[in-house]
């Protein structure tokens, strides 16, 4: 029988990630973010990483001390980010990323969100390049190849393959068949399809093979290589409700 895909710890699951890897981090506004894998990778220490994600941090529904890409940035592990947000959306907001970016310590490729998703979908589907209407006529298209189909101008975009995908799922069976809950799906299955190696943090206990009906699998196990069950808090990281976050932070400040 094949080697088990279930790893005993996040440290084991990321132990061999080499310097210079291109890693996709799933999730959108906290939901589906691989927060435990962010922590493990920051401890593991691989450098020169190209990090692909929607943005460079999580949303507001995460304890402010929870791991995000900012941990990797602060740890000088990140060479480049590929994101649909590389600046705060409000002038009042400050991103850790911006400090490093403005000093020229990190490179960035800014990509419209649909193009980001489709470039990874293309990599996962063996499509080396495609045309899209997004960003035509903007600064992002300057000097780049466009082409007219049926009277409309489109921009050529190339596939974005990943070395690793770090994702989070709700349910998994031991073969790696996954289910995501609600908006947790987002980029997660696409990144897995774009990656050579997919590492999953799983919320529920990992089920025996066959426990998920084949019609209900969101990501087939052939795309999944390593899985770790997220331990309960405080050992494992879990998103929390805003009121709980406020309480946690008040408690911390009181200490």
């Amino acid at each position: 029988m094949s080697k088990s895909k279930i790893y005993p710890s996040f440290a084991d699951a990321v132990a061999d990630i080499p310097d210079g890897s291109t890693i996709g981090f799933g999730g959108f506004a906290v939901v589906g973010m691989p927060i435990n894998l962010y922590e493990a990778l920051s401890k593991q220490g691989a450098k020169g990483l190209t990090c692909v994600s929607n943005g460079t941090r999580g949303g507001s529904t995460m304890p402010s001390d929870a791991p995000t890409m900012e941990w990797l940035i602060r740890n000088d592990q990140v060479k480049k980010v590929i994101c649909s947000f590389t600046a705060p959306t409000r002038a009042s907001q400050k991103l850790v990323f911006s400090e490093y970016y403005e000093k020229g310590l990190i490179d960035a490729e800014l990509v419209p969100q649909g193009t980001l998703a489709e470039r990874m979908r293309a990599a996962g589907a063996g499509i080396p390049a495609f045309y899209t209407p997004a960003a035509v006529g903007t600064e992002l298209a300057e000097g780049r190849e466009t082409r007219v189909f049926n009277g409309r101008e489109y921009l050529l975009e190339e596939a974005l393959p990943l070395d690793y995908a770090f994702i989070r799922a709700y349910q998994a069976d031991a073969f790696g068949n996954l289910r995501f809950r609600r908006s947790q799906r987002n980029f997660n299955p696409l990144m897995a399809m774009a990656a050579r190696v997919t590492i999953v943090e799983v919320e529920e206990d990992i089920l025996p093979v066959g426990a998920i009906d084949p019609d209900d699998v969101h990501l087939p196990g052939i795309f999944v290589h390593r899985m770790v069950k997220i331990p309960p808090p405080p050992e494992g990281w879990w998103p929390q409700r805003p009121a709980e976050i406020a309480k946690l932070e008040a408690d911390r400040n009181a200490r």
């Binding site: 959108f28 529904t61 911006s98 193009t115 899209t132 600064e139 609600r182 987002n186 696409l190």
Partner: protein, 225 residues
């Protein structure tokens, strides 16, 4: 504001554009002001709200403490699901956008030009930017409405002849609601369609950075309820 005029509240602005939504429309609301459109009472109309993160058919925000931690809209707000809801991944979600199945997107903007160009992803002098789904939505939605302030914090016009900061898409805007009124982008330029109660046409003209087509009659911004 430059002249002290206040005009519409943000909710009033969003109510006004939400009135334009037709029964059965699939609607995508941008982060910021536009999210308030979902508070409008659509009565008998069925409006399907689509979010970039693959949520089709979301409903009102959840109450505090009752958030579903697996479910947010594109602005990261915890929402509910309507009975017709379905979840897809990001590539399918943007497939819906690019294939023209979003009947209208309502977006915020820093600037809009009389030729229908607009800018909302990069502030002047900023390194990097925040595009999110705006470029896909702007290029592909059947209608693009903007909900934005009439002027900047310094009182400078946001409705301009030509955008001065990098654009999100060119020539795509249909309607603009600001706190001062409702504007339509026409082949002839920007037209004032309705004016906020308490404002004069001169006040609107003075705070607009491009030529404004003013019809003989400019009714007040339509309100409901």
């Amino acid at each position: 504001m430059s002249d002290g005029a206040k005009g519409l509240t943000r909710q009033q602005m969003c109510d006004r554009v939400a009135m334009e939504f037709q029964d059965g429309w699939v609607v995508n609301l941008g982060i910021g002001i536009p999210t308030l459109c979902s508070n409008f009472n659509f009565g008998d109309k069925q409006i399907i709200f689509h979010a970039e993160n693959g949520v089709i058919g979301y409903g009102p925000l959840t109450g505090a403490g009752r958030e579903d931690l697996h479910l947010v809209n594109a602005g990261g707000q915890h929402v509910t699901l309507n009975p017709e809801a379905a979840i897809v991944h990001h590539a399918d979600s943007f497939g819906i956008i690019r294939s023209g199945r979003i009947d209208v997107t309502v977006l915020g903007a820093y600037e809009v030009a009389e030729n229908g160009d607009f800018a909302n992803w990069k502030m002047a002098g900023q390194k990097g930017g925040g595009i999110g789904g705006a470029m896909d939505l702007a290029a592909c939605a059947k209608h693009v409405f903007l909900a934005m302030e009439q002027v900047t914090r310094r009182g400078q016009p946001r409705l301009v002849e030509r955008c001065t900061i990098p654009v999100t898409a060119r020539g795509v805007v249909d309607l603009v609601i600001t706190n001062y009124g409702l504007f339509e982008i026409t082949p002839e330029g920007m037209a004032l369609r309705e004016i906020a109660p308490g404002l004069s046409i001169d006040q609107v003209r003075a705070t607009t950075g491009c030529n404004l087509l003013i019809p003989d009659e400019v009714p007040p911004v339509r309100m409901r309820g």
